[in-house]
Subunit: 470 residues, 3 copies
Amino acid sequence: MSAYKLNPERFFDSDREVRKYAIELYDSVKDLPIISPHGHVDPVLLAENRPFSDPTELFLIPDHYILRLLYSQGIPMEDLGVPRKDGGKTEIDHKKIWQIFADHYYLFAGTPTGAWLDYEFFEVFGISERLNRNNAAKIYDQLQEKLISEEFLPRALYDRFNIEVLATTDSAVDSLEFHQKLQKSDWNGRMIPTFRPDSVFNIASSEWIDEIAALHLATGIVTDTFSSFICALESRREYFKDNGATATDQGILSPYTHELSYMEVNSIFKNALKGNVTKENAEAFIAHMIMEMARMSTEDGLVMQLHPGSFRNHNDTVFRHFGADKGADIPVKTEYTRNLHELLNKYGNDTRLTLIVFTLDETAYSRELAPLAGHYPAMKLGPSWWFHDSIQGMTRFREQVSETATIYNTVGFNDDTRAFPSIPARHDLSRRVDSNWLAGLVARHIIGMEEAFSMSRALAYDLVKKAYKL
Amino acid sequence: MSAYKLNPERFFDSDREVRKYAIELYDSVKDLPIISPHGHVDPVLLAENRPFSDPTELFLIPDHYILRLLYSQGIPMEDLGVPRKDGGKTEIDHKKIWQIFADHYYLFAGTPTGAWLDYEFFEVFGISERLNRNNAAKIYDQLQEKLISEEFLPRALYDRFNIEVLATTDSAVDSLEFHQKLQKSDWNGRMIPTFRPDSVFNIASSEWIDEIAALHLATGIVTDTFSSFICALESRREYFKDNGATATDQGILSPYTHELSYMEVNSIFKNALKGNVTKENAEAFIAHMIMEMARMSTEDGLVMQLHPGSFRNHNDTVFRHFGADKGADIPVKTEYTRNLHELLNKYGNDTRLTLIVFTLDETAYSRELAPLAGHYPAMKLGPSWWFHDSIQGMTRFREQVSETATIYNTVGFNDDTRAFPSIPARHDLSRRVDSNWLAGLVARHIIGMEEAFSMSRALAYDLVKKAYKL
Amino acid sequence: MSAYKLNPERFFDSDREVRKYAIELYDSVKDLPIISPHGHVDPVLLAENRPFSDPTELFLIPDHYILRLLYSQGIPMEDLGVPRKDGGKTEIDHKKIWQIFADHYYLFAGTPTGAWLDYEFFEVFGISERLNRNNAAKIYDQLQEKLISEEFLPRALYDRFNIEVLATTDSAVDSLEFHQKLQKSDWNGRMIPTFRPDSVFNIASSEWIDEIAALHLATGIVTDTFSSFICALESRREYFKDNGATATDQGILSPYTHELSYMEVNSIFKNALKGNVTKENAEAFIAHMIMEMARMSTEDGLVMQLHPGSFRNHNDTVFRHFGADKGADIPVKTEYTRNLHELLNKYGNDTRLTLIVFTLDETAYSRELAPLAGHYPAMKLGPSWWFHDSIQGMTRFREQVSETATIYNTVGFNDDTRAFPSIPARHDLSRRVDSNWLAGLVARHIIGMEEAFSMSRALAYDLVKKAYKL
């Protein structure tokens, strides 16, 4: 990466022919509006439109992609300003933290985080030097100055980023207060919620009873039986739809699906209300709830997303002291063919359902996911996720999925980010990688340029819009 | 792909040096005769040598590769003319079905099916336009006209395709009537049967008793004990050999191998005859029968093929209404190191046995299959199979297998097709991909051009001929 | 590969830009000293510094990489001069064996073994022809002549190879006699032992009691309780440290880690002393001993290496007749996220520990190992191992690991070899592949050339030196 500006041909193959096609394809999609159907930006940001506080707060502290790498190299979380749950001492001098970050910026060379940060610094914030040990303080000040200016307010950035829709991820019991404020405001953007019921499904969690109480509060429904619980969920889905939602999302360890009899599931539910939960019951309940979510989506039309395979909070020490989302979620092997059998048999042939499946286990791409999505009308594949949202990761996804499922059973790109200023960086990277992949097919005469243009547009815009009903 | 003819350099890397070598290597093998040691062409086709009925009947309805993709995009099987088991209404206007196919031909861009179809249309049938929504009817008529002409009769195509041997896959109880007709005829081609006993091994199937009855009929042996069952199988293998067979084939879910005591297996067999079968018994019986097949192959010299890892008829609805082979067979994880342990320990050191193993689980290539084939004299690796019989799939196979097993423990290419006119398309694709892979090794000075020529010929012709004893 | 000398640009991409950068990067590291932190060279070689006996003895008989491929092609071990355990007849004419090897030298085209052998013949021994059927005897004689000359004595080669440190792998009960001789000698090289306790951990082995006796002899400690066993191990680790060791190594089937209570582990240990061992106990004992090894490493600073996932001696016949290490060790699927959970939770946040993890299951690279190493400060990834120590294998490792873990959580290269003259060949190959991988990143503007130079040096020298504390 050049020291002063990003190379306009970055991430394309150096082969002249491939690069020539890649540039043409990228040029044809680079200015298309951004559709972000799945992410974690806080709606309060756009609702209140206040300036970001400082560079460390904006780029570093909330970004577990950055934290985990610094931590892996032996830098304590405390030195990075991550708040301790016990209120213990952590660094509060944000310039000092920034210096540590700059000292280790070389770590990010060749990583997606590095590519996104470079884009943010150079393209979004107009910094003209690469961050390093020596210019850390200077760049901090430059960024700080921009952050307080009008043109770096969240809504100004939203417009500059050319965002058409931005979906958030919201708890099933969320009031959607800020989404409503946005809708009532004169803001002309489109920010929509996504229904994520994990916390009310996880009967094994110590917080479940509180979540059920919150569900009662939010719906007015006394959920003392499984059927009333379902009513409350349906009511909440309705509420989300009324507030603009087009999709739901479920994060699970295993995608095992299995319907219980009403008697069974009601008994598990009622026992859980009394605090009696076994591991088996908790798993059976989730397996049943995935089935229920599919049924509801078939009926109410909300697109259903499934994100399995992350062993959350693998590092107990980090979790105990610093909480969730600190880079310690580790993927596990994930099986789809057998686990989704019951769901796909019951709902997979129904064209009213759109089920978008993600994975952290790349071995499932060619073996299970592409064959399933290449057959069942209801099933589509989400893009390469999390650790695999990278140049090589996205390329592997395209190469291992497309011959069997075709791009038409995939759904474009998701940025899945908490980091608002990284949104254009991530979409730009994705458009470059897809353009480059298509260019390779053209250069090998596997597809023609005309097809490539239409596939390129599909990947950048059409597929996501259609799949998420936006 | 150009609109009017196929690019002669298609599927080769755009790097000049790689492409130059790839062209040379491909030119050296492109005219070698086709050996097709494993496939599903109906022998009646060549025995009767009658014209194909129409383009929809020839290209579409029997091809589950095409059906599954159209179905995945929400097109009902009925609209594609797939007959319903209940005799329900399906489209019978073949021109109408052809139009739906043409409307969606863009789906096949970048898929192996698309590459094969393009070859068939342009090279085999001399069509001069790419199929699309607008020219569907015209191309249908052009194809129809050819289909009824002399030069498109099956035997004429067999000669034109330069086929040296064409193996079919036949039930253990098959009379091989059409193979015998062919042998008695003045036809100068070579079509041979392959012994596939799956249906007589699957004691859990509701059709098993009928299969056993058919086995009795075919052999005259009353198979009321396991030993008489083995006699009947040996007699059938003999019969297949007498009719030209050089190989057997077994499709199984798991490649688990384990020999039972005679008392155990006989008891399972006799219980099955009375209709008493457990899942465990059915699996144990298969595990034992793989061992028996290896023993018999060691003795009678028939090459043994194992195809594990497909969850057949995953979609119950499609199976109930339309039957098997409709694109709903989905791969599962498959383990070889432990599962083949008993078989390889008993027969793997015996050079009289040739055991060819396939997989749908690409993760086994470098981890298990290449190390096994790179050690046991009896074991060879079948080519990339089914979903993986594609440009990327074949490339991954070569890249992940060759450094450990060498190409000399693989067996060339199998087309594995029901679609007779796709045979040259598939072999051409395979020869191109292998040439390109070897060209890449030459361009990186990993091998020399002299070695590449000999490896190229081995992959296209020598290895398959030797491994299948043809 | 040219017939007369190795191409200086071998193994680099043919793309001009990539190749240009690769050459620059390779030139910058090719003359760095070799650090070999993990291998199996016999210390007696350098301690006694006697000439190698003959080419067959040097290149062939001890090299299971070569044996397994020849055996896979149906050549009996006996014909290759591999001694039978029963004293049965094997070929003793080494020229005859060499001829068989030369007859089949084409098998090694495109394999890492072929690349290493070519380097050894051309670069180390100055042979000017490629080995083949016709020149076998001549090249044998040429090699033989060199082997008896001064400049091909082990120490002369050590200097010529520019080795800075060479670590061996030694049984926990080894006297380290030859290491001590070397240290007392006037030799100016550095050869250090590595503590490998597998044989004293494997309570299920018939040789375990003997190993425990040897441990007693070596330490003077009566190991009749688990705590005295731990004392003995600690004493041995101390002894190894005193003799220069900086690391330990454990080879295991599964990386499952779990601490038992003292009562449990002591009971298992004492029962084992009486010959009472179950499979479950043996596995639980290993799981506990990995935890103990991590504790000890945290305390005494020895770097801890874990090598899981090899099903040793898969071929009983070969093992019975010819013993271990004959090419019949086959990888199995290996799970890390759950298996290492307990160890990483107890020791993974402790920066005093360096835990280097290897795998034969490439599917774990991107799914489990890179995310784990990209988070836990104590964990690092060993290089691509065994079958995967190849051009494609190393490339896959870099591509699948680096975006998530960065190269800074990996530890450079290990040659892991018994074959002394192959050491420079292996390091040269690794430096070429890494240079080419980095060149690809530069050519795609993913990293800059300045970063690439520093990463290149890190991969060839800095990382291994730091990780292994050398």
